[in-house]
């Protein structure tokens, strides 16, 4: 069975943050828009309602809001020589599923990358010399500058209602903020989150050592707020169920709380759920897309959906998968370095030190996902890469985002993982530990990339995507550097004990433990069609009516959580489409 539906002006693949933003921006142009979401519909009521969403087993452990590997997964290998095997069970990262995408289950930590990160290769070459970049490291400039993107960061932060303390407004350093951040045109729309006990202890210790701690910018509202679309947020009630859960309280910025109800009021916008796009259909000459073909789960048939403009707004991995399946851009070849689609997959290098205090009560269940005190004293623009022998940086944070017990109770070094001593340990130490974490960059490399797997297929018979990725010496040196900075801070706080966890030499990528859902690259942006998959407006080089949103555009990973940059790039691309593309559809570069 198959059918062809009437043509639309725009088809949007995926209805998470970027699909919602592009949807409402283009709906304002009066275009006929259809969004296709492969997961189910989701709304605050009934899907995130109290008390049923306060269920650690169903959502935190069994991943109720995440993609099911049965429906969608990939294969992984660590070297070009290995045979990739499928990720049969979620672990390392947790792509979202359904309307709202990962925008419903994030913690809300919302950053702007440093100005230097947008032109990382140039920054390194100018300041430390090109010789410092290892031969197999394939970092690039983004093709867009922080200064160009600043208005779009501002737009996203005011739309999403971010709470924070500015550190640099138009070049003026602000007390209490991050003095190392790039200049912003105005402060955050909401004041920062209040200080928890662990944040206070860290702030005092970091300040005493001459560092510059500040409240972590947060998409957990601190006040009542109405955004540009008329959507309303209420102040966070610290329920302790943020990451992996939808927000019960209309407090966490998400497509549901910030965009969707406003978007659904446009008669020219519609969306279909349980509709998985199988491929982007190209014209016979390959120069444009004619629309998409998707699987209508309800009708159990393939649907051809013609459209003038195709927006890929799925998760980074799935955008790249669709490009590879559809012939958008030449697939990257790690042997020759030629080809662009799938190039420069990167991840995030994190580590941390856990501190145990018998006499402090951290009450970790009284938590919000973004609550934390951070410092950028060892950020990318603060490190002498030549002296330290690596390229990259981290932000360092103390913050407790939840106190859910199945997800793990930190125990002092040497405590067994089961038996009487484990039970005694959880009784003694639950609520008595805090952590200082390093959230770090990850460079891109010649042999870290995405392509199609030769063996495994999905439920539609399509090849799974294959990820080739491993940890590299440069990034391990970076995280070991952070360990050397964090441990003295921890020691200065005089805990009863502490333990560290940072990757060290020889660490191999392990898909089992959760690390982070900050997968980037594979659809990287740039100004040269020979080295990037999309241009600086996120427009496919070969098919001018295809735009690819999301973190796939990052040529290497930033040292921050990606959503701030993903949101800013979505507004940047939407603005280019509205102002420049729609009046005269053509390659914008």
């Amino acid at each position: 069975m198959a059918r062809t539906d009437p043509k639309k002006d725009v088809v949007i693949v995926g209805l998470g943050w970027t699909g919602s933003i592009m949807g409402i921006e283009l709906a304002q142009e009066g275009l006929e828009i259809l969004a296709l979401e492969r997961g189910p519909d989701r709304a605050t009521v009934p899907d995130f309602q109290y008390p049923k969403v306060i269920d650690e087993l169903k959502y935190g452990i069994r991943y109720g809001f995440m993609q099911k590997p049965k429906n969608s997964t990939l294969t992984v290998r660590r070297t070009l020589e290995e045979t990739a095997l499928p990720m049969r069970k979620l672990g390392s990262f947790l792509p979202g599923d359904g309307v709202g995408g990962a925008g419903i289950h994030w913690n809300g930590q919302t950053w702007r990358p440093m100005a230097e990160e947008f032109r990382l290769r140039s920054y390194v070459e100018e300041n430390f010399g090109a010789d410092l970049i290892p031969e197999d490291m394939t970092i690039q400039d983004w093709g867009v500058s922080y200064e160009e993107l600043e208005p779009y960061f501002d737009r996203f932060e005011y739309m999403a209602g971010i709470a924070g303390q500015a550190g640099n407004i138009n070049g003026e350093i602000q007390p209490g903020g991050n003095p190392f951040e790039a200049p912003r045109s105005r402060g955050y729309p909401m004041p920062p989150m209040p200080e928890q006990t662990d944040m206070r202890l860290f702030r005092e210790a970091a300040t005493a050592m001459g560092y510059h701690p500040f409240p972590r910018p947060s998409a957990n509202a601190t006040q009542a707020y109405v955004n540009e679309y008329g959507m309303q947020l209420g102040p966070c009630n610290y329920c302790g169920f943020c990451e992996r859960y939808g927000c019960i309280n209309y407090s966490k910025s998400s497509p549901q709380t910030c965009v969707l109800d406003a978007l659904k009021r446009y008669d020219n916008f519609s969306y279909r759920v349980n509709s998985e796009v199988l491929r982007v259909d190209l014209a016979a000459d390959g120069q444009t897309a004619t629309g998409v073909t998707y699987w209508d789960d309800e009708a159990q048939e393939e649907v051809t959906q013609p459209a003038d403009l195709v927006i890929l707004a799925a998760y980074q991995l799935h955008n790249v998968h669709l490009m590879l399946l559809s012939g958008i851009g030449e697939p990257y070849n790690p042997q020759t370095g030629e080809g662009v689609t799938g190039k420069n997959y990167a991840y995030q290098m994190n580590g941390g030190t856990t501190l145990f205090f018998r006499d402090h009560h951290f009450n970790p269940f009284a938590a919000a996902g973004s609550s934390g005190t951070s410092m950028d004293d060892f950020a990318i623009n603060q490190i002498d890469f030549a002296a330290e022998g690596f390229i990259g940086g981290s932000y360092i944070t103390a913050g407790l985002s939840n106190g859910q017990p199945i997800r793990g109770i930190s125990l002092p070094e040497g405590t067994p993982g089961w038996g009487a001593e484990w039970k005694q340990g959880i009784g003694e130490w639950y609520g008595h530990s805090m952590s200082i974490g390093s959230h770090g960059s990850n460079m891109s490399y010649r042999d870290c990339y995405l392509d199609l797997d030769p063996t495994y297929t999905d439920r539609h018979g399509r090849p799974l995507m294959r990820m080739t990725f491993d940890w590299k010496r440069n990034d391990i040196r970076m995280t070991q550097f952070m360990k050397r900075q964090i441990e003295p801070i921890a020691q200065s706080m005089n805990p009863d004990s502490w333990r560290s966890s940072y990757k060290s030499g020889g660490a191999r990528y392990d898909i089992r433990p959760y690390q982070t859902t900050h997968n980037v690259g594979g659809a990287i942006m740039g100004t040269d069609p020979n080295s990037s998959a999309v241009n600086r407006y996120l427009q496919a080089w070969g098919q001018h009516n295809v735009f690819v949103l999301g973190a796939g555009a990052f040529p290497q990973n930033i040292q921050y959580n990606p959503t701030g940059a993903v949101g800013a790039l979505a507004y940047w691309a939407a603005d280019a489409i509205r102002r420049d593309y729609l009046p005269n559809p053509r390659p914008l570069m």
Partner: protein
């Protein structure tokens, strides 16, 4: 909860209601040790009214014995038996979790792959338990002369230690048996009671976790013990 006497009165009261006070906790601890003289009812009696949905009688005996060593009754706080963890595990194995409903189960399978590649067995979690229990019990027979459930506590601990280290001779297809058993035991200890474990929210009371209250704005930054006991998703208080 390093020092129960430092807890506010309300919390201590609720804890006592479950555990019957410190003195009887100590008494219970002795009771749960297999093979020791017991002059009070075995806490396992609380499981007697439950008819397993998935596990056979021998498998049930194994799960009861193994979880009782993973989270023993001795010492402060409930053990896996008091929390009725075996009920949780049986129900999980009888349901979607046991059937691998969400997992990618297409071949080819490389069960002996580097462990960093995660689960690569063709078996569902329910089958991992079924084959894992049989294989491990056989190993216990060979090494110790009896099935796991019939060993004394220290021999059980030694056998589980071998299992956890991958030294119990299990085939690659069931090498994740221990990981599942440990994880599911912790889940049954701490999950909402509607799933069959964490009976009476005892595990939440023990560590001081308030369960599904989900509203703590006034507790931000307060460096003192939280005074209220837990509630569950059904709205009951401990």
């Amino acid at each position: 909860m390093t020092n129960p006497s430092s807890q506010p009165p309300a919390f201590r009261t609720s804890r006592r209601r479950f555990l019957g006070g410190t003195a009887s906790v100590a008494a219970l601890a002795g009771l749960a040790r297999p093979g020791e003289a017991q002059d009070q009812p075995d806490p396992r009696a609380a499981l007697d009214g439950y008819t397993p949905e998935f596990l056979s009688a021998a498998e049930w005996a194994f799960i009861v014995a193994a979880t009782a060593r993973i989270i023993p009754s001795e010492g402060d706080g409930p053990g896996a038996i008091e929390a009725q963890v075996p009920v949780f595990i049986d129900r999980q194995l009888a349901g979607e979790f046991g059937a691998a409903t969400d997992l990618y189960m297409e071949g080819p399978f490389v069960a002996d792959a580097d462990p960093n590649f995660g689960l690569q067995t063709p078996l569902t979690p329910a089958e991992i338990y079924r084959e894992g229990i049989a294989a491990f019990d056989q190993w216990c027979q060979q090494e110790q002369g009896s099935s796991f459930a019939d060993l004394d506590a220290s021999a059980q601990d030694a056998a589980l230690t071998a299992l956890s280290r991958g030294e119990a001779g299990l085939a690659p297809e069931v090498r994740d048996f221990w990981t599942h058993l440990l994880q599911n035991t912790r889940e049954g200890y701490f999950a909402d009671p509607m799933y069959g474990g964490n009976a009476g929210m005892q595990a939440w009371v023990y560590i001081g976790y308030p369960g599904a209250r989900a509203n703590f704005r006034e507790w931000v930054g307060r460096d003192e013990p939280y005074p209220m006991g837990p509630v569950n998703i059904a709205g009951e208080r401990a």
